[in-house]
Amino acid sequence: MNIYKRHPVNEMKLEFTGRSINEGFARAAVAGFAAQLDPTLDELNDIKTAVSEAVTNCIVHAYPESIGVVHIKCRIFEGGLIEITIRDRGIGIEDVRMARKPMFTTGNDDRAGMGFTIMESFMDKLYVRSKVGTGTTVRMLKKIAQKGSVRSDK
């Protein structure tokens, strides 16, 4: 799945304030963009769930004491591959390996610590890059089984 050499067929960028009310907006927007790949309802639900987890992480963990900006970039590649990148300029994650473990959370009782586990199991690939004091970038890939073909025309 080396997509660096490929050109995206389609792309969108989104930037919004990290308020929890926007979690629903973010997953609906990404699902709307992904709809052109004609995913099944299950696939669409997987994408919405993964986006919801990543955006919630930004709101709860990246910006614990403030309201920051959340950036989303989506790209579609030939063959039905969708790449979703969610980026914040928050406090960062000290130990990404630990954070990705199931049931690990730095949050309160109201967080289950399952966010990364769900992103990992609902998407095909999950990459997390983070630097303390700089922010976190979560990149997720999922291949949508193609019934037809995605046209690259305008």
Binding site: R111, A112, I118
Partner: protein, 101 residues
């Protein structure tokens, strides 16, 4: 997210409808805890039939209710869970601690 609470012969039924994410869970956790305090039921039935979307925030909602009910020796039953929602509960291994029907 809408929450409807009613007392029945089978137990206290808490019916959730709509999307259960972190935004909705903040209010839901409190509302459900308040209901458990008010009615002190022996069985709490969480009706999930009308939940159209749920992420990991829902796990904490069920676990919160489970803890609350355990304190008073009560039980939690999660009812009519749609397949997409069940997928999340399964990943968290919730089947081991609460009853699904």
């Amino acid at each position: 997210m809408k929450i409807k609470i009613r007392e029945t012969e089978d137990g206290l039924v808490i019916k959730l409808s709509g999307e259960l994410d972190h935004h909705a869970a903040k209010g839901a956790l409190k509302e459900i805890a308040d209901a458990a305090d008010e009615f002190v039921p022996t069985i709490c039935i969480l009706d999930m039939s009308q939940v159209t979307f749920m992420d990991s925030s829902g796990i904490a909602v069920v676990l919160g209710l489970y803890r609350k009910m355990s304190e008073v020796g009560g039980r939690v039953v999660v009812k009519d869970t749609p397949p997409g929602v069940m997928k999340i509960f399964r990943i968290a291994g919730l089947e081991r601690i609460v009853t699904f029907s």
